[in-house]
Structure formats: structure tokens, C-alpha cells
């Protein structure tokens, strides 16, 4: 397989059969995120993003730039969960939820400003975000996380 250089802007889209409110709750409340986001307990408020591992260790901690429930969330990303990535510069994650009027929503996740975090870019690329998003979809549509 050819390996691509890490992309400094990454875009992921997925259709999910759920309401915008359900998706919003799933990405902003720790009880939900723990079930599909590598076990991370993520709490997002209007001005702060906090992610903790199963034993309370800090996996993410930073400002929220936009908080427009249930449509748009923009927050800082730092990879505090991995000693190799901690020193890298912060990047940015944008979540957009677009209601499709057919019982589904189009969820777009854009991870950008990764120019100062190339190792993070490589680690979240492909399977990283895809795994999280397909697991989120499975959880919302079936009530069970992807095994």
C-alpha cells in the first residue's frame, strides 16, 4: 500500500439516521463519547473542551471556538493522550450537522490547522477518525457500539 504524507486538512463525512439533537448530545456528553470514542469521556461546554481517559487522565483540554447547538461545534485539538504527540502545536476540529429532512443527518468532521502537528495528523488520519465516526453511527442507529 502506498503511504500518503499526513494531510494537514482532513475531511470526513457520514450519514447517520438520527436527529441533530441526538448527534449533538452524542458528541458533547461524556456518557455517550465513552461508548464510541476510544473510551474517552468528553465534556463540551460553550467555552471548554475536556477529554478524560477511563482512569481520569487528561486526554484533551482546550478552548471551544464555536458552540451552535445542534448544528456546529468548533474546538481546539491537542493530543495529550500520547506522549509522542503532546509537544505538538494545537490543531482544530469542526463538527457540522446538516439535517437532511429524511430522518438522517449528514455529519461532517473537519480536522485542520495540522501544519504544526504532523504526527497527530498521521495518527488521526484514515482509521482514526473513520473508526470513531463509524462507531458513532452504529451506536446511534443500533444502540450498540461497534465491537
Amino acid at each position: 500500500m502506498t503511504t500518503a504524507t499526513a494531510q494537514t486538512t482532513q475531511v470526513y463525512q457520514i450519514f447517520i439516521k438520527a436527529t441533530p439533537e441526538q448527534i449533538w448530545e452524542a458528541i458533547t456528553t461524556p456518557e455517550f463519547t465513552a461508548r464510541y470514542f476510544h473510551g474517552a469521556r468528553i465534556q463540551v461546554t460553550a467555552d471548554h473542551y475536556q477529554s478524560n481517559g477511563p482512569n481520569g487522565e487528561t486526554w484533551g483540554d482546550g478552548p471551544v471556538f464555536e458552540f451552535d447547538a445542534p448544528r456546529r461545534l468548533v474546538h481546539q485539538w491537542r493530543s495529550l493522550y500520547d506522549p509522542d504527540l503532546v509537544a505538538e502545536e494545537p490543531s482544530r476540529v469542526t463538527w457540522e450537522i446538516a439535517d437532511q429532512d429524511d430522518g438522517t443527518c449528514l455529519l461532517t468532521v473537519t480536522h485542520d490547522r495540522l501544519e504544526g502537528a504532523l504526527k497527530t495528523a498521521a495518527s488521526v488520519a484514515g482509521p482514526g477518525w473513520m473508526g470513531v465516526l463509524s462507531s458513532l453511527k452504529t451506536l446511534l442507529e443500533t444502540g450498540e457500539p461497534l465491537t
Partner: protein, 112 residues
Amino acid sequence: MVTYTRLVDDDRVFKALGDPTRRHLLDRLFERDGRTLTELESELEMTRFGVMKHLRLLEEAGLVVARRQGREKLHFLNPVPIRLIHDRWIDKFTEHRVAALADLKSELEESA
């Protein structure tokens, strides 16, 4: 109608992938993401209109996402639909075996 919608989505993905030009476009985006139509067009022996048509089919299948950035329209590879097809037939227990065979294939073919 969940199943039906899902089948239609899968059909679009398979149809989009069933064409060498469109796979080539995805390969280019895999190498470097966020390209303009002009950039993509310059590497293909095809009219601008032809490339646009292929990009539109890829967008409809959800494999390419176009985003405006300033005055430019940039195209990004969205691998999620392929991942969902992967998840449907390959679970985490068989994944290792499949990956081992895929690695073996590429190793043998590279050394050949």
C-alpha cells in the same frame, strides 16, 4: 426503509469505484488532499467538463467532499463510505488475517 437507503448508498459507492478515471482521481487525492479542479485536470488527458462529471459522481457517492476556501473550491477524499463497506463484511477478528494477506501480497509483488 433503512435497508433500501443503505443499498442505494452502497450502489453509488460501487458504481463510483467502477471506473478507472474515478479511481485515479481518488488516488491523486489520497496522495495529496484538498486539490482544485484545475490541479486534478492537469494530470488527466480529459476535458475539464469530463473531470467535473467524474468528480460529481464521486461527490454523490460521498467519496469526495468539495469545500470552498476563499475563492477556491477544494476537493477532499472522504474514505468513510469505503470504511462502512469494510465494516459490513470484515469484523475485527478477521481483520488481522485479511491485513496479513494484503501485506504478503504487496511484499511479494514489490520484491518480484
